[in-house]
């Protein structure tokens, strides 16, 4: 499990706006997925 204790106290305030924007943009994509969609975690072509 990630030990986030060494992330400085100001880091969340500094980085969360862009992370939250990314997560907000990603959420509708994740919601499109059905349980039948690929579950593979590795990428192949």
């Amino acid at each position: 499990m990630t030990d986030s204790t060494n992330i400085p106290a100001d880091a969340p305030a500094r980085i969360m706006p862009s992370l939250e924007a990314l997560e907000a943009a990603f959420r509708p994509l994740a919601e499109q997925l059905t349980v039948e969609d690929e579950s593979a975690l590795t990428f192949e072509i």
């Binding site: 990630t2 030990d3 986030s4 060494n6 992330i7 400085p8 880091a11 969340p12 500094r14 980085i15 969360m16 862009s18 992370l19 990314l22 997560e23 943009a25 990603f26 994509l29 994740a30 499109q32 997925l33 969609d37 690929e38 579950s39 593979a40 975690l41 590795t42 990428f43 192949e44 072509i45």
Partner: protein, 435 residues
């Protein structure tokens, strides 16, 4: 001079590898104070490898078009006995083994002149490195060369070497090719070995060549691809009948006017050469970019977890991204990989109606060093997001993509040629015909 021309001269005994190498080293040393394209210059290794190439020619041994040709490696390709840094304090070391690409290039008789500068960890597009200094654009040293393979782009475009190897996780070969004015190929995912290269995003990393011509990139691919000598370099290709997809969405939005004009001109030339232009709606590149950012943030932070106690050894932009990746939900990463398969299936349909897709490589001209934003009427966009906007998704899809320089009266402009999986040779052939 191109690889093709140099290879002919070497075989006609009009020039020796030692002469080409000395000239290459002279240019590298002369340009280093202006462009800072290299982290390590390997004079002794180069002269030794050049001598071996000349000795082989004298004995009638011909290892192919790269024999005796000076080149450079981005400083994340491991080279035994030669400093390799990954552009970071964290990985600055002298490896005891070679990466596969260097082994293959040595076997092909190419001559290593040095290790090029890059964005720290290859995690960014400016190549403004806090530990090794800013790499500068050969067309205007006040501007970035792009990145992360900025040193390789500058070295190839300025003719310091005949080719340079780069890596591309979200555009890092194609962006410096476009900003510096050279050719850069991101091959199909998995086509060139990553063994012995410092990873960034394990499922997004691609290794590829940066050259002066698409034909030359084919010669390098013949030597480094996992299936060697399989005809990446096609002479005399005609565009007649080639179905060129021209996106009518996303790839034509927020494009600088100079780039729009150069792109339109390239399409006209293709049509004049009897290519068939096919207007296309491309399935959701914005969504693919978002998934790509999620995957990259998570994969890099997972790799860097071991070094999380050394925060002060990272540059401020890189540590901010590592922090973001550590706060990302694991479910987002899993779903981003799942979405990637959906996007791959959607794009597979496109290859039934077109052979290649053309887009600008970058929507903006090379930004100034230190420039943070680009203005679009009332809106502003982070330079990093603007620069990667048209290229990042292609890493998510794993497709081959080439950037070639377009005619420009001002700063360099790149044309991106995207192909179907494993059609690298076709992408290169179209690139050769359009140069």
């Amino acid at each position: 001079m191109t690889i093709q021309e140099a290879a002919r001269k070497l075989r006609a005994r009009e020039v020796s590898s030692a002469e080409l190498t000395n000239e290459s080293l002279r240019k590298i040393h002369a340009e280093q104070p202006r462009l800072n394209a290299f982290i390590t210059i390997t004079d002794e290794v180069a002269l030794e490898q050049a001598k071996r190439a000349d000795d082989d020619f004298a004995r009638g041994i011909d290892r192919g078009p790269l024999q005796g040709i000076p080149y450079a490696l981005k400083d994340l390709f491991k080279t035994a006995g030669i400093r390799t840094t990954g552009g970071t304090k964290i990985f600055d070391h002298v490896p005891d083994h070679d990466c596969v690409v260097y082994e293959k290039l040595r076997a092909a008789g190419a001559v290593l002149t040095g290790k090029t500068g890059l964005h720290e960890l290859a995690y960014g597009i400016t190549s403004n490195n806090p530990h090794f200094g800013a790499v500068r654009n050969p067309h205007d040293p006040a501007r970035i060369p792009g990145g992360s393979s900025g040193g390789s782009g500058a070295a190839a475009a300025a003719g310091m070497v005949f080719f340079a190897m780069g890596s591309d996780t979200g555009g890092s070969i194609r962006i410096p090719a476009a900003y510096c004015g050279c050719v850069g190929l991101k091959p199909t995912y998995g086509r060139v070995s990553r063994v012995g290269c410092m990873p960034l995003g394990n499922s997004l990393d691609h290794m590829g060549p940066m050259t002066q011509t698409a034909r030359d990139a084919g010669f390098v691919m013949d030597a480094i691809a996992n299936e060697p000598n399989n005809g990446f370099s096609i002479p005399g290709f005609s565009l007649a009948g080639v179905r060129i997809g021209v996106p009518q969405n996303f790839y034509n939005e927020r494009i600088a006017p100079e780039i729009e004009a150069a792109f339109a001109d390239a399409l006209k030339r293709a049509e004049a050469a009897d290519a068939r232009l096919v207007p296309l709606t491309v399935p959701d590149p914005a969504a693919i970019n978002v998934a790509g950012r999620v995957i990259l943030l998570a994969e890099v932070s997972a790799l860097m977890e071991k070094y999380s106690s050394r925060r002060d050894d990272f540059g401020s932009d890189v540590i901010a991204l590592i922090d973001q990746g550590r706060m990302l939900a694991a479910t987002d990463y899993v779903n981003a990989q799942r979405y990637r398969r959906v996007a791959q299936r959607q794009w597979a349909e496109l290859w039934k109606i077109v052979d290649v897709i053309l887009t600008p490589t970058a929507p903006i001209l090379p930004p100034l060093i230190g420039q943070a934003d680009v203005k679009w009427n009332l809106e502003s966009e982070d330079v990093r997001l603007a620069t990667t906007r048209l290229v990042r998704g292609i890493n998510v899809l794993g497709l081959p993509a080439l950037s070639i320089p377009l005619h420009s009266d001002s700063l360099p402009i790149g044309l991106q040629i995207i192909g179907a999986p494993f059609q690298d040779h076709f992408v290169l052939a179209v690139g050769s015909a359009m140069c």
